[in-house]
Structures are given as structure tokens and as C-alpha cells.
């Protein structure tokens, strides 16, 4: 970013004249982007723990062959809810939490464009989460058809499916409102001199993510609405008995589902693009190419959805198109990976916790991206479709990709958010333990998948026993490690630790670091001028 002129109005930088309500009313009625960002982040971490407990149940069942912990129906509910909760309840709200905290601070805006709508976007999430969890206790149990909600299973399922559909509607509405807010804030509320091509890359990645969300969330809402009318109002969109086509749902779902992968990963790219230059003490290599690569990934994400459906009987021309289009995504993604590495090249690097997570992200996400490239090859995909190879692939992208970047972002910005430095020792323990346990849990799944172990099945043949035991041990270890992160963050929130200076990272150069730590309740009421 170019230099920032401290064109302070009287009192600028000392505007901690917070006249906020206290107690529960503050959190229920707040329109402050920082409060709402905090709520998003805590909510997402809570849901991460809930989804994590479900993952532990799944791994406990798979620890040994045979059925020993839960019955198969409950196991299916666990895999379904784990996916839905992690995607919609944990990762997406975490990204929105980062956006709420950081976008106004990074572009020099006083708040989000629609502060009340921002509050509403957040408070829609808890009811949706309650609906999802309540579905476990209704007759017939929770949805059990996988997070992809494929018919005909979802047409035949019990009342839990209706609750899931309503939850998806609510979560979609929340996402669309959040996206409208983010786009409007970035387009209309940037500080004078903050041109689009001077914006920190985190804001760019979120701007593009928000456009993706606006385009695809209504499609998911449309798909589940049709599912609902098939279930209760006699339509036959997806009901083969009435002339409908279940495969049609897969097309509509994946038109949403594939861009969703990028909705999850692009904000993570943005966070990593802030962290790596800071700890390399160099500007980001190829800023403009990063922006264009992000846009390229987003555009390509709309034309590759059917690579999730290679085994449904697509025409040969279609298979070839989706195969090559999917491989094409490796080009802009490769540009990004190259630029991150080039940023580090000959940089004056240090390895604090945020940088460790960013490098961990880079290494493991690239591995996950590479297995994605393998899966894009249709003859290979047919062999490993619905096996643990796919499970390994997307966990390398979503956990070691998004989640590691979010952990890095939390350590990077927590001094600004709380005014307290995190414990570097806890951070290092968290990183190394997460890195090792993650690989212990998920790397063996590649072997299991290649050997033919199907996903979403609670029992398996004896030949898969050893690697499943290893994967389960890794998963329990990874789950337990996250309590270290919780402890480190709680310590910061309670102010237990050294006071954070305004700019704790020598190489940081974005606008939020011009503010004192913790950031005052109201910031940039007089916009800064960016030169």
C-alpha cells in the first residue's frame, strides 16, 4: 500500500469516547462493526467446536471396523450435520467476522454501510444453528443424506429435513445481507485516496467473494425451496415418480456448491496475502496479478460444477469441457502460490505464529489443490468417486486451507482487536500440534481412498483398519489441540498478557495499524487520506 497521510482531525486517533450500552443489551442491539465481528468470530468458533464433536463421534465409530459407538442412521446424521455446520456455521461466519472487523479498518471507513442490517445478519445465525441442532431431536432424526442434500433421500426424509431446509434459507438470507453490506461498504465508503487498486488484498478477496455469494446463495435457496415444495406441495422437480429428475438437483446444487468452495477459500487467500508480506518485510509480489487471479478463479468457479458429477452419466463433450475447465483453475491458483513464494524470496523473514500458519496454509493448501487436480481427471475421478480420497482432498483445502489461514489471521489481528499480545509459546504449540495432528488424521485418508474405502459408511472391511485407527488418533489429537487456541484467545480477551503496541508487526503497512491497540470503539469518523 502507498503511504498514509495522518490527516487527523482534532481528536482523531483518540476517539475512544465510547457511549456504548453495557451488558447483554450491548451485544443484542449493537451496530458497531467491531462488536458484530467479535460475535461472528465467537459464534463460528462455538460452531467449530460443535461440528468438531460430531467429527469426533464419526472418528470414534471408525476407530475400528464394525458398529460399536452409534447406529448407522445417527452416523449418517453426524456426517451430514458435521458438513453443514462446518461450512455454514463455522467457516463462512468466521470469514464474515474477519470482514466485519477488518474491512472498515483497512479502507478507512467509520463502520459498515448498513450497520443495522449488519446486526440482523448476525442475529439470524443463532436461530438457524438452533434449527439444525433441534433436528436431531425430532421424529425421524436429523437430515442424513450428506451436506449435499441429494434427493431422493431428502424427499423421503422426516421432519428433520424441513428444519434443515429452513436453516439453509435463514443462513442464505444472512449471507446475502452480509454480502450486500460488504460490497456497498467497499464501493462507497473507502477513504479519500484509497483507490480500488490500493486496497489491501484482503478487501479485494472479500469484494469478489461477496459477489460470488450474491450470485450463488439464491440458487441454493431456490434448490432447497424446490426440495421443500416436492416434499409438501405436490411438485415433482426432483421426484422421479412424478416425472422429475434427481440429477437436476445435483446440477443446481453444484452450481452453488463449487463457487462455495471459493467463497470459503478466497477470504483465506486474502488473510495470507496480508500475513506473508508483513513477516517477509516486503510488499506483496505481483499485487495486480493477485487481484486478477482472484477474479479469474471466481469466474472459472461458475463453469466447473459438473466435475462433481462425472459418474452421473454426462455426455463425453461435457466431461471434456468440465475436466479442462477445472484444470484451468490451477493457472490463477498457481499465480497466487507463485506470488506468495516470490514475496518470501529474499525477504527478511521471521516466524511468529501468524507466519507459521500462513506457511502451513501454503504447503498444505497446495497439496490439497494438487489432489484436486488429480480428481479433475475424469478417469481417475471415476475410480475414487465417493471414497476417502475425496474426503482427504477437501479437508486439505478447507481445514489446512481456510482454517489455518483463519487461525493465522486471528493471531495476526488479535493484538489490534484486544490490545493484548497473545502468548507466542501457546501459538507455537498450537501451530506445530495442529500441523502434525492434521496430517496424521487426513494424510492416511488418501491411502484409504485409493484402496477403495467408501465415505459416509460407518463400517468397513478389515483391510482398512490400521489407517483408520491412525486417522482417528490424529483427529482426536487435532480436536484437543484447538483448546490451546481457545485458551490463547481467551487470555487475550481477558487482557492477560503484554500490552500490544499500535503496530506490533514491523512489516505491517495497512491502515488499521495506524490506530491504537485495542482499536477504539469508533474509528475513522474523520476519514484518513491515503496517498
Amino acid at each position: 500500500m502507498s503511504s498514509i497521510a495522518h490527516d487527523h482531525a482534532p481528536g482523531y486517533g483518540h476517539d475512544d469516547h465510547a457511549h456504548r450500552p453495557s451488558g447483554i443489551a450491548r451485544w443484542l442491539t449493537t451496530t458497531n462493526h467491531k462488536d458484530i465481528g467479535t460475535m461472528y468470530l465467537w459464534f463460528s468458533f462455538t460452531m467449530f467446536l460443535v461440528g468438531g464433536v460430531m467429527a469426533m463421534i464419526i472418528r470414534a465409530e471408525l476407530f475400528q471396523p464394525g458398529l460399536q459407538v452409534v447406529n448407522p442412521e445417527f452416523f449418517n446424521s453426524m456426517t451430514t450435520l458435521h458438513g453443514l455446520i462446518m461450512v455454514f456455521g463455522a467457516i463462512m461466519p468466521a470469514a464474515v467476522g474477519f470482514a466485519n472487523w477488518q474491512i472498515p479498518l483497512m479502507i478507512g471507513a467509520p463502520d459498515m454501510a448498513f450497520a443495522r442490517m449488519n446486526n440482523w445478519s448476525f442475529w439470524l445465525l443463532p436461530p438457524a444453528a438452533i434449527l439444525l441442532m433441534t433436528s436431531l431431536f425430532v421424529p425421524g432424526g436429523a437430515a442424513a443424506a450428506g451436506w449435499t442434500l441429494y434427493p431422493p433421500l431428502t424427499i423421503q426424509a422426516g421432519m428433520g429435513m424441513d428444519l434443515t431446509i429452513f436453516a439453509v434459507h435463514i443462513l442464505g438470507a444472512s449471507s446475502i445481507m452480509g454480502s450486500i453490506n460488504i460490497i456497498t461498504t467497499i464501493l462507497n465508503l473507502r477513504a479519500p485516496g484509497m483507490t480500488l487498486m490500493k486496497m489491501p488484498l484482503f478487501c479485494w478477496t472479500w469484494l469478489i467473494t461477496a459477489y460470488l455469494l450474491i450470485a450463488v446463495m439464491p440458487v441454493l435457496a431456490g434448490a432447497v425451496t424446490m426440495l421443500l415444495t416436492d416434499r409438501h406441495f405436490g411438485t415433482s422437480f426432483f421426484n422421479a415418480a412424478g416425472g422429475g429428475d434427481p440429477v437436476l438437483f445435483q446440477h443446481v446444487f453444484w452450481f452453488f456448491g463449487h463457487p462455495e468452495v471459493y467463497i470459503i477459500i478466497l477470504p483465506a487467500f486474502g488473510i495470507v496475502s496480508q500475513i506473508i508480506p508483513t513477516f517477509s518485510r516486503k510488499p506483496l509480489f505481483g499485487y495486480a496479478s493477485m487481484v486478477y487471479a482472484t477474479a479469474g478463479i471466481a469466474i472459472l468457479s461458475f463453469i466447473v460444477w459438473a466435475h462433481h458429477m462425472f459418474t452421473t452419466g454426462l455426455p463425453t463433450a461435457g466431461i471434456l469441457f468440465y475436466m479442462y475447465a477445472t484444470m484451468l483453475i490451477a493457472v490463477p491458483t498457481g499465480v497466487k502460490v507463485f506470488n506468495w513464494v516470490a514475496t518470501m524470496w529474499r525477504g527478511s523473514m521471521t516466524f511468529e505464529t501468524p507466519m507459521l500458519f500462513a506457511i502451513g496454509f501454503l504447503f498444505l493448501f497446495t497439496l490439497g489443490g494438487f489432489t484436486g487436480l488429480v480428481l479433475a481427471i475424469m478417469p481417475v475421478d471415476v475410480q475414487v468417486q465417493d471414497t476417502y480420497y475425496v474426503v482427504a482432498h477437501f479437508h486439505y483445502v478447507m481445514v489446512a486451507g481456510s482454517l489455518f489461514a483463519f487461525f493465522g489471521g486471528a493471531y495476526y489481528w488479535i493484538p489490534k482487536w484486544s490490545g493484548t499480545m497473545y502468548s507466542e509459546k501457546l501459538g507455537q504449540v498450537h501451530f506445530w500440534s495442529s500441523l502434525i495432528s492434521f496430517n496424521v488424521a487426513f494424510f492416511p485418508m488418501h491411502f484409504l481412498g485409493l484402496a477403495g474405502m467408501p465415505r459416509r459408511i460407518p463400517d468397513y472391511a478389515q483391510q482398512f483398519a490400521d489407517w483408520n485407527m491412525v486417522a482417528s488418533i490424529g483427529a482426536f489429537w487435532f480436536g484437543a489441540t484447538q483448546l490451546v487456541f481457545l485458551w490463547a484467545m481467551v487470555q487475550c480477551a481477558r487482557g492477560k498478557g503484554p500490552r500490544a503496541p499500535a503496530k506490533p508487526w514491523e512489516g505491517a503497512d495497512t491502515l488499521e495499524w495506524t490506530l491504537p491497540s485495542p482499536a477504539p470503539y469508533h474509528t475513522f469518523e474523520t476519514p484518513p487520506v491515503v496517498r
Binding site: 454501510a113 448498513f114 446475502i176 454480502s179 450486500i180 460490497i183 456497498t184 464501493l187 462507497n188 465508503l189 450474491i214 450470485a215 450463488v216 446463495m217 439464491p218 440458487v219 435457496a221 431456490g222 434448490a223 425451496t225 424446490m226 422437480f237 437436476l248 443446481v252
Partner: protein
């Protein structure tokens, strides 16, 4: 006093109205996608989908160009 505060208030009102316009355009895009996907499937033809999307794009263009021309006039 009155005159010094007036431009700031104007700028504030302009910003609010610009925000509302941006939000409405984005909301209408979301609505087109939501209604479009159901309409396409309900009428059982890809022509409907192309029609809905085409009409929407044309409408957005007409509004955008119209606003631009009005601004210049």
C-alpha cells in the same frame, strides 16, 4: 452555523442514497437468480433460464445507461 453544516448533511444524504442504490441493485441480482432458477425448472426449459438472465442483464444495462445519460443531461 446553518450554512456550514449544510454541505456535510448533503454529502451524508448523498452517501446514504448511493448506498441504498447499490444495495437495491445487488438485491435485485439475488432476486433474479432465486426466481430464475425456480422459474426455469418450473417451466421445464433452458430457454426460460436464458430468457430470465437475458432480460435481467438488459434491464440492468438500460437502468445503468439511462442513469448515466440522465446524469450527463
Amino acid at each position: 452555523m446553518h450554512t456550514t453544516h449544510e454541505p456535510a448533511r448533503d454529502a451524508d444524504a448523498r452517501l446514504k442514497s448511493r448506498n441504498r442504490r447499490t444495495a437495491l441493485v445487488l438485491l435485485s441480482i439475488a432476486a433474479v437468480f432465486f426466481v430464475g432458477i425456480i422459474a426455469t425448472r418450473f417451466m421445464d426449459g433452458s430457454a426460460t433460464g436464458i430468457g430470465v438472465m437475458g432480460s435481467a442483464v438488459l434491464l440492468f444495462l438500460v437502468v445503468a445507461i439511462g442513469r448515466n445519460l440522465r446524469g450527463k443531461a
